[in-house]
Amino acid sequence: MVLSLKVYLNIKNNYLLKIKSINYHQTLIKLINMKKILLLSLIALGTLTVKAATIGTSSRLTMVADTGDTPLTISGSVDAYYKYDFAKSSQIGTSFASDHNSFSIGMVDIALKKTTGKTSFVGEVSFGPRGQQQSLLPGAAGDSYHIQNLYVNFAATDALTFTMGYMGTFIGYEVISPVGNFNYSTSYMFTNGPFQNAGLKATYAFSSKASLMVGVFNDGWNVYTSGGRIDNLGAQLFVSPVDGWNAYLNVITGNSAGTEFDLTTSYQITDAFKLGLNAADYTAPKYIGKGGFSGVALYPQLAVSSSVTLGLRGEYFKAKATDFGYSAIAAGTSVKALTATANIKSGNLTIIPEFRLDSGSANSWMNKSGMPTKKASQALLAVVYAF
C-alpha cells in the first residue's frame, strides 16, 4: 500500500511540475482521464490490501480449540395407522397397531439432546397409546410420566462413557420408536422382552469396531423406580467384523426380572440388500413360577429404489413348556409369524403398508366366527412422520 501511494505521489508531483509547460489541450484531457483511472485502480487495490491486512491480523487471535459443544437438538416423530384383522377382532399379540378396523394414533414423540464438552443429556417424552400404556408402566399414583428416555452421559475419556438414568433397553432388534423399526407391528420377542431399563452403565470402546457395556439396573423392567432393589446386571458386547455388519451379544439377569440372552445383528450386504437377525432366550424369575420363551427372527430387506424398500420378518417363537405362556402363545406351543412390509419414503414421511400371517402349533386365536384357530392375519397401513 505504501509503495502504491509513493508511486502515485511521484506521478502526481511529476505531473504538476511538467503540466505547466504543456499547451496541448487534448493531451491534458487524456492525462486527467488517466489520472482518474489510476486513482480508481489504486482505491480498489487499497481496499483489497486492507481486506488482506484484516485477515493478516488474525494472528493476534487466541487459538481456541474446538470443544465439540452442540446446540440443543430436537427430534421426534408422529405416527398413526389403520388396521384390519381378518378375524374381525384383534388377535395377534403385537405391542402396537393393536386396534381392529380403526383409524388410530400411535404417539407424538419428542426428544431433546444437548452436548456440552464431555457431558450430554437426552430427554424423550411421548404422548399417545404407543408412548403411554402400550410401552410404559404407570407410576405409583397411576400416572404416566411419558418418559421414554431420560439420561445423562459423561465421557470420562474418549473410550469410556458412563450413562445414568432411564434408557431404552439394550436388548432386542426392535424398538418403541416407529422411526427405529422397519415393520410397524412388532415381533413376539420384542413384545415379551424389556422396553426400558433404569440404571447406571459404563461403556468402553476398544475401537470403533468393538465395545463392551456393563451396568446395574433396577429390579423391574420398564419401571421408573425400583421395588427397593437394584439386582439386575446387564452386559452388551458389540463387534463390527466388517463395514456394514454390526453384532450385539446381550444379557440381562436378576432375581426379580429373570434372565434374557439376546443376539441382535444386521449386515448391509450390498447397497440394496440388508439382512437382520434376532435370537433370544428368556427364563422367568423363580418367584412367579416356571416360565420363559425362546425365539429367532430374520429380517431381509431389499431397496428397490431410493424411496421404496421391501422387507420381510420371519419369526419363530416358542413359549417354554412350563407354567404359563406369552402373547396368547400357551406354554409349550409355538408360532411362526411372517410379516411383509414396505417402507415408502417421501421426504420426512414414511408410508408403511403391511400384511401379517401368524401360524400357531395350537389354537392360539379365534376366527371371525369365534371358533379357535391356528391362524391369524391382519393388514395395516401406517404413516410415520419423523423430524
Binding site: 488517466m34 439420561y151 422411526v179 463390527s240
Partner: protein
C-alpha cells in the same frame, strides 16, 4: 520550436510509462479478484472428485516452521471427530475429519448425516497450500436411545449424493460442508501465523567423579 518538440516527446514517453502502470494496477486488481472467487468454491477436479483448494502466501516463513505449525493445527485445533491428525512427512501433513449436516426440510435441526473428508496441507518456504477431498456421506439414523448415529454400510461418495438425496437436501449438505471447510481454513491461517515453541533438547549432564576415576 525545438523546446516544444522536446516537451512533446517527453510527454509521449510519460504517457507510455503511465499506461504501463495503469495496466499493471488493473491486472493486479483482476488477479486478486479472480483468486478470491476461486477460493470460495467446492469444485470438481480432473478425476471428477469434489475438492476445496487454497493457496496461501506467507512471506518470511520457512517451510520447517510452517510444517511445525501445521502439525500443531492438525493435532489441536479441533476435536478428533472434526479433524484428526493422520500422518506427515517432509512438506506434507494429512488429516481426516467430518462435519455433521442436516436436511433443509427438517423441522428440527439434528444430525441427518456426516460428511467425512481428508485434508492435506503442503508447505514450502513462504507459502503453503491445502485441500479437502475424498468426501463421503455417512447417513445417520435414530437409535433406541434417541441419538442419531451413523448407519453402517450405507456410505455414499459426495459425487453420487444426488442419487440418494433430493437436490434441496444435497444443496443443504454442501452449503454446511463448505462453511465448515472455510472455518477450518480460517483457523489454519491463524495457527500458521503463530510461532510454535521449539522443542527443548534435554542436555545430558556429564558427571565427572571427584574420586575413583
Amino acid at each position: 520550436m525545438f523546446a516544444k518538440a522536446a516537451s512533446k516527446g517527453w510527454l509521449l514517453f510519460y504517457i507510455y510509462n503511465m499506461k504501463k502502470i495503469v495496466l499493471a494496477v488493473i491486472c493486479l486488481f483482476f488477479k486478486v479478484a479472480t483468486a478470491s472467487a476461486q477460493a470460495d468454491s467446492l469444485v470438481l477436479d480432473e478425476n471428477n472428485k469434489y475438492i476445496y483448494y487454497q493457496v496461501v502466501a506467507q512471506p518470511a516463513s520457512s517451510a520447517d516452521s510452517l510444517q511445525a505449525r501445521a502439525i500443531v493445527f492438525a493435532k489441536k485445533a479441533f476435536t478428533a471427530n472434526k479433524l484428526k491428525f493422520k500422518d506427515s512427512d517432509k512438506g506434507t501433513i494429512r488429516a481426516t475429519g467430518g462435519v455433521l449436516v442436516a436436511k433443509k426440510s427438517s423441522v428440527a435441526m439434528h444430525e441427518d448425516a456426516r460428511i467425512d473428508y481428508t485434508m492435506t496441507i503442503e508447505v514450502k518456504d513462504n507459502r503453503y497450500r491445502y485441500w479437502f477431498t475424498d468426501f463421503v456421506i455417512v447417513p445417520y439414523a435414530r437409535d433406541r436411545y434417541a441419538n442419531f448415529v451413523p448407519v453402517s454400510g450405507k456410505n455414499v461418495p459426495l459425487e453420487k449424493g444426488l442419487a440418494t438425496l433430493s437436490k434441496k437436501d444435497f444443496d443443504g449438505y454442501t452449503a454446511k460442508l463448505l462453511a465448515n471447510l472455510k472455518d477450518i481454513g480460517n483457523r489454519l491461517k491463524t495457527y500458521m501465523k503463530t510461532p510454535v515453541a521449539p522443542v527443548k533438547k534435554e542436555v545430558k549432564k556429564t558427571i565427572i567423579p571427584a574420586t575413583n576415576w
